[in-house]
Amino acid sequence: MSKRKLDIFTKGFFKENPTFVLLLGMCPTLATTTSAINGLSMGLATLFVLVLSNIVISAIAPVVPDKVHIPVYIVVIATFVTILQFAMQAYTPDMYKTLGLFIPLIVVNCIVLGRAEAFASKNGIVDSALDGLGIGFGFTMALTVLGMVREILGSGSVFGWKFISGDGLLVFIMAPGAFIALGYLMVLFNKIAKKN
């Protein structure tokens, strides 16, 4: 892999992390990270849509008239979201129920439309796929970490493996904990990023 391609792939992990740096896709980030496994699943679901829509949009971008490009991109994204909905209903019905509304809401996740507009519409198919993979992994990582922190504090377990008896600090599973945990994680991320 050439240096440039590697850069496109890895920039989503840290330098342009969609959650901590670009502050995009906040709704699923906050809503679905009640446990590490839920965060991971939501991240992977978004990754799936992101990579496929990036590939298709980079392929059709040259022929889409400029005036209607946003609706066209939204239809492409919505199609992949519908495919994802069917696949999840068939293979992981429990996870589909847990994530609920936030699976169809991937359509309006600003990360997906943002990458389509900012990257896929101007670059080749391979680069766009790599960009989707990189940003998708960055998003998945952020969601898993946030889910882990909330699960450890809120129910005293990691990926469902319990290490304390009884309940944790329940507030971290509920809405306020999501905001507070993400706020502190962002501070930590800023601190580490500053040092590099």
Binding site: M26, P71, I74, V81, F86, V107, V108, V171, A175, I180
Partner: protein
């Protein structure tokens, strides 16, 4: 009574922003100033109510009779995007002053997940209010629910903008400046709203 319960529940108990996390991006984006927050709230109330009315009718008279409910996501997002465009054009023509006030916020609303979120949840989820049985909402209830939800969103947005204006003047540690401290403040606000649970 039923409508009253829906309104209280949607505004305070299940606040769309602070309890359901819908519409967080614009929430963090436009809550810097009280005046922009007010403008955005107005636009959201307008669009959510209208979008829910239209998508509910489309779902009931078009998608369900023809067995096309799997197209809900695609159909709804297209309807919302078109609706927002149309509202923009109509407002520009009939009420330039309102257009001036809401204008720049309207295009942003298409990607506000609260709009699609509310439209999808009224046609897919069962609701319980008070001691009543779980049921699908009818047209009137859906529109009232959508309106109240949007009011709740606007209220959270305006309260939060007020808080953030004060935060700007405070001495915040460097790493916390900007979004991190806003998120933590929002967490405390959400905690305050948790006090309303059990009300309905």
């Amino acid at each position: 009574m039923e409508y009253f319960l829906i309104i209280i529940s949607a505004i305070f108990v299940n606040n769309v922003m602070l309890a359901q996390f819908l519409g967080t991006c614009p929430f963090l984006g436009v809550s810097n100033k009280l005046s922009t927050a007010t403008g955005m709230s107005g636009a959201v109330v307008f669009v959510i109510t209208l979008a829910t009315l239209v998508t509910y009718l489309i779902n009931k008279y078009l998608l369900v009779p023809f067995g096309l409910t799997f197209l809900q996501t695609i159909a709804f997002i297209l309807v919302i995007a078109t609706l927002v465009q149309m509202v923009e054009i109509v407002l520009k023509k009939i009420s330039p002053s309102l257009y001036q006030a809401l204008g720049i916020f309207l295009p942003l609303i298409t990607t506000n997940c609260a709009v699609l979120g509310v439209a999808l949840s009224v046609v897919t989820k069962e609701f319980t209010f008070g001691g009543g049985a779980a049921h699908m909402l009818n047209l009137g209830e859906s529109v009232v629910y959508a309106f109240a939800t949007a009011i709740g969103y606007g209220m959270a947005l305006i309260i939060f903008a007020g808080l953030r204006e004060h935060l700007e003047l405070n001495d915040v540690p460097k790493q916390f400046k900007g979004v991190p401290i806003a998120l933590i403040t929002c967490g405390i606000l959400a905690m305050a709203f948790m006090g309303f649970s059990g009300l309905v």
